[in-house]
């Protein structure tokens, strides 16, 4: 067994880290982000209160870098490396899993580019003090609005497929039955995130607050 100890597992561990960071913390952050942003569906003031709460957490910069920026950079960067080492073949084998394999790469790239732009406009340009009005103003630009929809849908799709991949690739869904259930779970998450994401964007764009009756 001494030979096994000297074998390189670096490639294995980096790949596993890519898979893991996709769900925790990147996927988990997306869930938190959609949740916090959905306060816009209640009212402008509720949204601003929620975002101010998040903008004033202790150790903010460390938390942002350790749990958001670095994991995303790693997941995105290593993801591109994985893409370059694969060769899509959907024209010869147009099966569902194979389609998901290819779309997972494109949606990942779109989401990565979108998140870069989103961070630039909402985090850097506002010095981390973005408000409802900032987002609302940005979305009056039709290109920004379109990119926002594309980014939300690409991220939601990528997370949904990612959950399915994660459960299969960590052997948590091993049998055919379990993998079918994992697929259903991924589809549900992807669909739910898409719907909630689109509702949030609509709320900012149209100044629309369907839950404002709570406050009346």
């Amino acid at each position: 067994m001494s030979r096994t100890a000297t074998r390189s597992e670096t490639d294995y561990l980096l790949r596993k880290l890519h898979s893991f960071t996709g769900v925790i913390p990147v996927g988990a952050f997306l869930a938190e982000h959609f949740w916090s942003n959905s306060y816009a569906l209640v009212s402008r003031a509720q949204y601003d209160a929620k975002s101010q709460e998040l903008q004033t957490i202790p150790f903010r910069v460390a938390v942002e870098w350790l749990f958001i920026f670095l994991p995303m950079l790693y997941h995105g960067g290593y993801g591109i490396y994985i893409w370059l080492r694969g060769k899509s073949n959907i024209s010869a084998y147009p099966w569902v899993g194979n389609w998901l394999y290819t779309t997972q790469r494109y949606t990942g790239l779109i989401a990565f580019a979108y998140i870069g732009w989103h961070l630039y406009t909402e985090r850097w340009l506002t010095h981390g003090k973005s408000t409802y009005t900032d987002v609302e103003d940005l979305l009056q630009n039709p290109y920004a609005l379109a990119f926002m929809f594309i980014g939300v849908l690409a991220s939601s799709f990528h997370l949904g497929v990612g959950i399915w991949n994660f459960l299969c690739k960590w052997g948590l869904a091993a049998t055919v039955k379990a993998q079918r259930a994992a697929g259903a779970l991924g589809a549900t998450v992807g669909f739910a995130f898409s719907v909630i994401g689109v509702l949030i964007v609509l709320s900012f764009w149209l100044n629309w607050h369907p839950f404002d009756f709570y406050l009346k």
Partner: protein
């Protein structure tokens, strides 16, 4: 008239491993229950192209002619298939025959699948039963385990799962689904399990199980209906447990 029916076959040919590929077309008289191997045999009997040009018989591997040896795997109308079980009446014509694209071509449709053999050796795809003394009888295998192992033992190393896998290509050394499934088979065996950790460690080397990206083409293409995606998931779980938890709890 049915007896005048023709079968048109286009073959991608290559004289040598480094030769330039070229296509030749053949028109063969149709016969009942014809398969692709019969087409290749008919061409060998009368190696004349559709244009009437005399040529050489086509090189290809085949042996059992009943889908248990794995040697006649090739691309038939662009899809990984076994030539012996590919029935002409069920194929669109002209029937396009190409060698597998993921292995080096030896000549015409014959490819060199040494990579798979090397990978099987790498993961110790066997059960060591020889010692310096008589090791005696091994432990018995539960019928439940036998039922799981049998489907895995049907692998014929045809390479179809590698051919259809987007992760198997020139930029990647991924060993492919068949080999991962063989590790599961041998680790499942009560005597084989004595080397389970070594096989799993080999699976985590570069080009190992981590390069699977879950496109799941392998399980669709497998001519032996081996539950390859189950095998990969199962080995994935054993691998990360060994790599991530093994150093903590042994």
């Amino acid at each position: 008239m049915p007896d005048a029916k023709e079968v048109i076959v286009r073959v991608k040919r290559q004289v040598s491993p480094k030769g330039t590929p070229y296509w030749e077309e053949f028109a063969l008289p149709w016969r009942p229950a014809m398969n692709v191997i019969i087409c290749l045999r008919d061409i060998a009997e009368n190696p004349v192209t559709r244009e009437g040009q005399r040529t050489t018989p086509i090189s290809y591997d085949s042996n059992c002619l009943e889908e248990v040896c794995g040697s006649c795997a090739m691309l038939i109308n662009g899809k990984a298939r076994m030539a012996c079980s590919a029935l002409v009446d069920k194929l669109d014509q002209p029937i396009r025959l190409e060698p597998f694209s993921k292995f080096p071509v030896v000549r015409d449709l014959a490819v060199d699948r040494q990579f798979m053999f090397e990978s099987l050796k790498r993961v110790k795809s066997w059960i060591p039963i020889d010692g310096t003394y008589d090791l005696g009888e091994g432990p018995r295998m539960a019928p439940e385990t036998q039922e799981k192992a049998y489907p895995l033992s049907r692998c014929i190393s045809c390479g179809s799962c590698l051919e259809v896998c987007p992760q198997v290509n020139d930029n990647n050394k991924f060993i492919g689904a068949a080999i991962i499934s063989q590790v599961r088979l041998f680790n499942m065996h009560p005597t084989g399990a004595m080397h389970a950790k070594e096989r799993i460690a080999a699976l985590m080397e570069p080009g190992g199980i981590q390069d699977c990206a879950n496109a799941q083409n392998c399980v669709k293409a497998c001519p032996k209906d081996i539950p390859l995606t189950e095998s990969i998931a199962e080995m994935n779980r054993q691998a990360w447990k060994q790599a991530l938890v093994g150093w903590l709890v042994g």
